[in-house]
Amino acid sequence: MSEPIFPNPSEPLDLNAQLQSSADEADPTSPPALLPLSPAIKKVWTIKSALAVAVITLGVGVFDLARFFTTSSRTLPIGLPTIGILTVGSVLAYFVPRLRYRVWRYRLGHEELVIQRGLINRIHTVVPLRRIQHLDVSQDIVEREFELGKLIVHTAGTRSSDVVLPGLDVIEANRLRDLMKDYILEDAV
């Protein structure tokens, strides 16, 4: 009865084993296996993180430059904050999307959509299809470049009334939406 809800509860941080376990042994009790997102989402997330790092670096850089022209205290050498932020940011922007990709899983079952996500806080979500209020497929400008889409599932719950499933091929996102559309009940709530 107690089927583990995260793939390998004993070693949840061992990402390689996790990746293999979901690829090798599909859970017999729940026919469709947990699927990873489209690998292209790593690029999308990296581009977005890189943009954020660029903006922050620019801000810190301006601050650094301003310090160059003032005579105020210089506890840190000029340029070090900028270089530091840039280095740390670049490392994070490269690795975090890859790690996030490894923990993201989803499964469309007969009666529910199961989503697993979160690098630091891991969240396992079960959305019963009969609870869906409406469905959206959205694409932002970066996702459009890689032909990816987000599936947004709206329910009447309040914790997060919309459950977001990113990093799907647009075709797959539309297919999922059409599959789930039939479950929307007329008199929910």
Partner: protein, 515 residues
């Protein structure tokens, strides 16, 4: 059946007088500045008064004159608006509830405000302000008899058996009888209302009074002088002499005042409180100056919440709230259905509202929660001390609070319990503000199992079942249960949800053939 209703109606003419009276406070506020500095001359005051006469009064009249409503066979139609004309058609079958609200002024004139509430909107969609009380009852009866006819037309499979039994026959006759057969669930005596106020201790009203004083900014000396004609002077003298004692006395005074105001507020709110079951709805009515009557369809109830606090709990009292969605509610999805009752009575009423099996013994979450909370509180305290130490080095002595933190953590754990039955998830949380949620699994929306970084290191998880209209501040989360327990709990809750919703599908003729 209702062609006689189709004639156009206007609001009660007394509305004009009431609206003029209600607009007077606005005029007073406009004139306030002129009154406070009369030496500026009365010109501004005169201009404001003329503007009021020229603009406000005609608007009040035009709004009244342009307001029409009527009820057709299928709809409530409201035409309103002076500059922007608004035509609103509310289908009778979409009307959830007709509320009749009587504030003090309308009660004196025998009129009432009718609020028509539909699903999918948090505010009342049709407001008739004001109509005569008979007219208000007539409107409500038309809507009710329409809903009964609907139920009957939909066939016994779809309708709630109870409402079909009680309201199926002779809706016309029933509509003439002002009160339908009601199963009384709870009524509050005046003694209980007063007692409930005793337990209601809130500093909010004090804050309100003080902010009102702030607005007028009276000079305390002058005020005392003015009231007491200097007889107050010895007291003021004593206050100046010993500021500490007077501060303590002021706090006690404020507490007593808020106690008293709590009693008065509850008396006004819950005077002659009645709760009843009527077919597939529960209704409640209460109030001293403002009488509010409303009903909640049982179908719309998402969860029940029993609330209490240590003092009330020790004396054996609690209150019951229902969590709804899509109704006009003032307190964020939660409505009081029992303001104050013996804990046993509250349970009984909860069972007669939702009809569920008795909840077995509650289970504690993992004891690791105590350590987790203790570590969290201690780290927070140390961080706080480290910060304050920069200015007040002697704050270091605050580390002696640490044992008390352990006590707090233990109490948090002690009062965090959960229970699962075939139909329900029940969760208890809170030491001071104690809540017990009773969530019918058939009403569940989304299931969550979460594991934070620190929980993962201790092999713990949290489980949460989201529901419609749940408060975003306090939620029935089961925090810190062992990993295996959390997994089986999540699976059990979801499979029971599937069973419960499937049996609902079988009970009604089909999941989606209703409009």
């Amino acid at each position: 059946m209702v062609t006689a209703h189709t004639q156009e109606h206007r609001l009660h003419p007394i509305t004009l007088v009431q609206r003029v009276i209600l607009s007077l406070p606005g005029l007073v506020i406009l004139l306030l500045t002129t009154w406070q500095s009369p030496d500026e001359g009365n010109l501004a005051s005169l201009v404001v008064t003329i503007l009021y006469a020229v603009v406000a009064l005609p608007i009040i009249y035009l709004r009244y004159a342009r307001f029409r409503y009527w009820i057709t066979d299928t709809e409530l139609v409201i035409h309103s608006g002076v500059l922007t004309r608004q035509h609103r058609n509310i289908p009778l079958d979409k009307i959830q509830n007709v509320e009749i609200v009587q504030r003090l002024l309308p009660r004196l004139t025998g009129t009432a405000q009718v609020q028509v509430v539909t699903a999918g909107s948090s505010a009342a969609e049709g407001v008739l302000q004001f109509v005569s009380l008979e007219e208000a009852n007539r409107i409500r009866e038309i809507v009710r008899s329409y809903n009964r006819l609907e139920n009957r037309a939909n066939g016994p499979a779809d309708a709630n058996p109870e409402s079909a039994n009680q309201g199926g026959e002779l809706p016309e006759l029933r509509s003439r009888l002002a009160s339908a057969p009601r199963l009384s669930l709870y009524a509050m005596s005046i003694g209980r209302v007063l007692l409930s106020g005793v337990f209601r201790f809130s500093l909010l009203y004090i804050a309100l009074i003080f902010s009102a004083l702030q607005f007028f900014q009276p000079d305390p000396d002058k005020l005392a002088d003015w009231i007491m004609r200097s007889r107050f002077e010895p007291v003021l003298e004593a206050m100046r002499a010993s500021p500490f004692t007077s501060a303590v006395l002021a706090i006690i005074g404020a507490a007593a005042l808020s106690w008293l105001s709590g009693i008065i507020v509850n008396l006004n709110k819950f005077f002659a409180f009645k709760l009843w079951k009527e077919g597939s709805k529960i209704g409640r009515r209460s109030g001293l100056l403002t009488v509010t009557e409303g009903s909640i369809p049982l179908k719309k109830i998402q969860a029940l919440v029993v609330r209490t606090n240590p003092v009330m709990s020790a004396a054996g009292w609690s209150s019951l709230h229902v969590q709804t969605m899509g109704l006009d509610d003032n307190d964020s999805g939660h409505r009081v259905v029992v303001p104050f009752a013996r804990t046993g009575e509250t349970d009984e009423i909860a069972h007669s509202i939702l009809d569920f099996d008795a909840i077995p013994a509650f289970i504690h979450v993992s004891q690791k929660r105590i350590m987790r909370l203790f570590v969290r509180y201690t780290l927070l305290l140390l961080a706080l001390i480290a910060t304050i130490r920069i200015w007040y080095p002697s704050i270091v002595w605050a580390v002696f609070v640490v044992p008390a933190l352990f006590g707090t953590a233990y109490l948090q754990w002690k009062h965090h319990l959960y229970a699962v039955t075939d139909q329900m998830l029940a969760v208890k949380r809170g030491v001071i503000n104690r809540r017990t949620w009773m969530l019918p699994l058939a009403k569940a929306q989304v299931f969550y199992a979460t594991e934070s970084f620190f929980q993962r290191r201790r092999g713990l998880r949290s489980v949460y079942v989201d529901s419609a209209g749940a408060s975003s501040i306090s939620r029935p989360v089961v925090i810190d249960v062992d990993r295996e327990v959390a997994d089986s709990l999540t699976n059990a809750l979801y499979s029971r949800f599937k069973l419960a919703t499937r049996s609902l599908d079988q009970a009604s003729s089909g999941p989606s053939d209703r409009s």
